[in-house]
């Protein structure tokens, strides 16, 4: 019997209790305490779980929530780190909650979202059965350093894992797919087929233009967005791998959902038929998230029906297209954190034919990224295509003034842009400008989301995020 381990678990559990009583959603402190007391705590209590890990730049949370829905549909007894507690300490807290004081698992499966920069460190303690890597985009260079160092860190993390670990990788991302190159581990890929995406076009501001293996310039057969698509390197021959789950057509792209056709390879399922699926969130990036989750579910031999049902019915919450009903109006909260994700959000906002009322809440705390230069890499110019429908643009957050400057230089009418620093007023004045039946979109960075969600929670009775 390991008394140090038991004592660590008990103290950490108490810390969680106390934080709850104090109404703080303490997801990291208990894990930090546990590590101080017993550095091997995570390794020791996590080893009896079947672990599914999700990492990458964009889409980790949404992908995890769809996988969670698949687990639910299959009556799997699972735990998961819900609230963006995706660093080592938060993950440790999650496991501590999931074991008895003696360290015995209370559940069978653990679905763990891991920050891409923390992944390497986390895999020193966890041995997952499956790892889903969503994509690599430029994100918070002040914190993560260069994009290639993030990729290399994830690669080192994967290299450490058991040869039987299944990898689920984005075929269309040359960086992500490179993780499956020359590995002994079983790999399943997902991506867009040539028929489902547009012809290649020159895209100047992209993250991966040159071959990761030989520095030749990639060519594209088809292009989805950013650097995602049917890439190939004419110099060394590295190219997009064949996908085990492939989107072969987009039937409807609406501002609240997307209907697609997809198809599985033999390796993934018994049937190679085409399936039409309605993904319960808008935007091409959510098609990727749905494909990542479905590929993960099918590779774990869950049935097509349970996977399909998950994709069609899941709800994300916590700032990922979270919808709040306010009388006859709606508020939609959509987290923004880097140019690629932001561009995708702007894309589907302009799909709608409704008037546009948008608030941009930009903070520059550590979790948001202290450098806001990335706002200049977002294609706000795209909003000009919906110029006649734009009613009201509010900028707020610690860097609300910078956001107003950004919108001004995109060429939008400055009369429609207002800086309002007080969130209460953002909500009130934002809603007031919306007509009955309309929607007020709030696009916050991470810590701005926590703040405004706190206010919305009080005002409109939202769920606590750590539940």
């Amino acid at each position: 019997m390991n008394f140090r381990k038991i004592l660590t678990i008990i103290i950490s559990k108490l810390t969680i209790r106390i934080l709850r009583i104090l109404k703080k959603g303490g997801t990291t402190l208990p894990g930090k305490v546990a590590f101080k007391l017993y550095p091997d705590i995570l390794k020791s209590i996590a080893k009896d779980f079947e672990i599914i890990m999700v990492t990458g730049t964009n889409g980790k949370t949404t992908t995890s929530r769809i996988i969670e829905e698949i687990l639910k549909n299959n009556n799997v007894d699972y735990i998961t780190n819900k609230s963006g507690a995706n660093l080592l300490s938060g993950i440790t807290t999650t496991f501590i909650q999931a074991v008895s004081p003696l360290g015995k698992p209370k559940h069978k499966t653990a679905l763990i979202e891991s920050d891409e920069a923390a992944f390497n460190q986390v895999t020193k303690h966890l041995q997952p059965k499956s790892v889903v890597v969503t994509n690599f985009f430029r994100d918070q260079l002040d914190r993560y350093g260069e994009l290639y160092s993030t990729l290399n860190a994830v690669k080192s993390g994967l290299d450490r894992l058991d040869e039987k670990t299944t990898l689920i990788l984005n075929a269309d991302d040359s960086m992500c797919a490179s993780l499956g190159h020359e590995t002994e581990k079983p790999v399943f890929y997902y991506g867009f087929g040539e028929t489902a995406s547009q012809q290649s076009l020159e895209n100047i501001n992209t993250d991966a233009m040159f071959c990761i293996f030989c520095k030749g310039k990639y060519q594209y057969k088809n292009h989805v967005y950013g650097h995602l698509g049917g890439f190939y390197c004419p110099e060394c021959g590295y190219s997009r791998p064949a996908a085990d789950l492939e989107c072969i057509g987009i039937e409807e792209a609406e501002s609240s959902y997307t209907t697609i056709k997809w198809k599985y390879s033999k390796a993934l399922g018994t049937d190679e038929a085409e399936h039409t699926t309605r993904i319960n969130l808008p935007g091409l990036y959510n098609v990727y998230n749905a494909m990542a989750a479905a590929t993960c579910g099918l590779s774990l031999v869950y049935s097509h029906e349970t996977v399909q049902k998950a994709v069609e019915s899941f709800e994300c919450g916590f700032g990922r297209m979270e919808t709040i009903n306010v009388g006859d109006k709606l508020i939609k909260l959509i987290l923004v954190k880097n140019p690629t994700g932001f561009n995708q959000v702007l894309n589907f906002l302009t799909l709608d034919s409704q008037p546009l009322n948008i608030a941009f809440l930009i903070n520059d705390k550590l979790a948001d990224g202290t450098d806001i230069s990335w706002l200049w890499d977002v294609d706000f110019e795209h909003l000009n295509t919906a110029d006649d429908r734009i009613v009201n643009l509010i900028t707020s957050g610690i860097r609300g003034e910078d956001m107003a400057v950004r919108l001004k230089y995109s060429g939008l009418d400055t009369k429609k842009i207002r800086i309002i620093k007080d969130y209460q007023r953002v909500i009130d004045e934002g809603l007031r400008a919306v007509a009955a039946g309309g929607c007020f979109y709030i696009l916050p960075t991470y810590t701005a989301m926590l703040d405004i969600r706190g206010i919305l929670k009080k005002k409109f009775n939202l769920k606590e995020f750590w539940k």
Binding site: W376, K408, Y409
Partner: protein
């Protein structure tokens, strides 16, 4: 009608920290004054003839991209860039682009990379990155008679040192600047302006953007006698808020 021709060098590769904002600022501020603006992208393999442009912009990239352009910039465009600099062409060079204009970059473990040598300055790699908000003050540009306070964000591991022929762009009030020790930020030689500051630099510091547009137009048109004032409420709010927060 005045014309302003902007050249963006390696926009597909040297674009790490919102460098597009600098191009947008020059472009919009000229357009808002009725000046006809063109932006030409010049990258690897393209020919570069500085005669065709009034302002040349060179941004910063990640190490991977800097390596990729290294050969092209030295062998294909280097001589023309040096000619243009000596001929008083207006340049704005940020971060990696700033370093590239210098003589060499010595990595912290002693490896020396030859750079353009267009400016008498050089860079020594450091182990620690200098990351954070920066405010510096430039006597070269006036803000209603006092030296202009410029605000931005720096993120670099290279320490840059200036030779005798090059002046600093400003004096650091908060942050690291060129090398974290001598208290200076950026470099100016003839009409070449260099800075470590992005954020982006120009949109939030409209005086500096207008200064660059003015010297470019003055060179081109004898009769040019200055730019009219624009309404800069958002720009000033962004600039002043950050300066107050940082210098507090």
């Amino acid at each position: 009608m005045y014309q302003l021709k902007i050249c963006h060098l390696y926009p597909d590769l040297l674009n790490t920290y919102g460098d597009m904002g600098n191009i947008l600022s020059l472009k919009r501020r000229a357009q808002w004054r009725g000046i006809d603006v063109s932006v030409t992208n010049v990258t690897i393999g393209d020919s570069f003839d500085s005669q065709e442009y009034d302002i040349v912009f060179l941004g910063g990239g990640q190490d991977y991209e800097q390596e990729i352009i290294q050969n092209d910039v030295l062998t294909q465009k280097g001589a023309e860039i040096k000619n243009a600099v000596e001929g008083s062409k207006v340049f704005l060079c940020i971060c990696g682009g700033y370093q590239l204009m210098g003589k060499y970059y010595k990595t912290w473990d002693g490896k020396e990379l030859e750079y353009l040598g267009a400016l008498d300055l050089w860079t020594i790699g450091g182990k620690e990155r200098m990351i954070g908000n920066i405010v510096f003050e430039s006597e070269l540009i006036s803000d209603n008679g006092s030296p202009l306070k410029i605000v931005g964000f720096e993120n670099h591991s290279g320490r840059t040192y200036l030779g005798d022929n090059v002046r600093p762009l400003g004096k650091v009030l908060s942050g690291n600047g060129n090398n974290g020790t001598d208290g200076f930020e950026g470099a100016v030689y003839k009409n070449v302006y260099c800075s470590y500051s992005h954020g982006s630099l120009l949109p939030k510091n409209p005086h500096l953007a207008d200064h660059l547009i003015s010297i470019a137009l003055k060179q081109k048109y004898d009769e040019f006698d200055g730019l009219n004032q624009l309404e800069d409420a958002f720009e000033n709010a962004a600039r002043v808020t950050m300066i107050q927060r940082i210098l507090k």
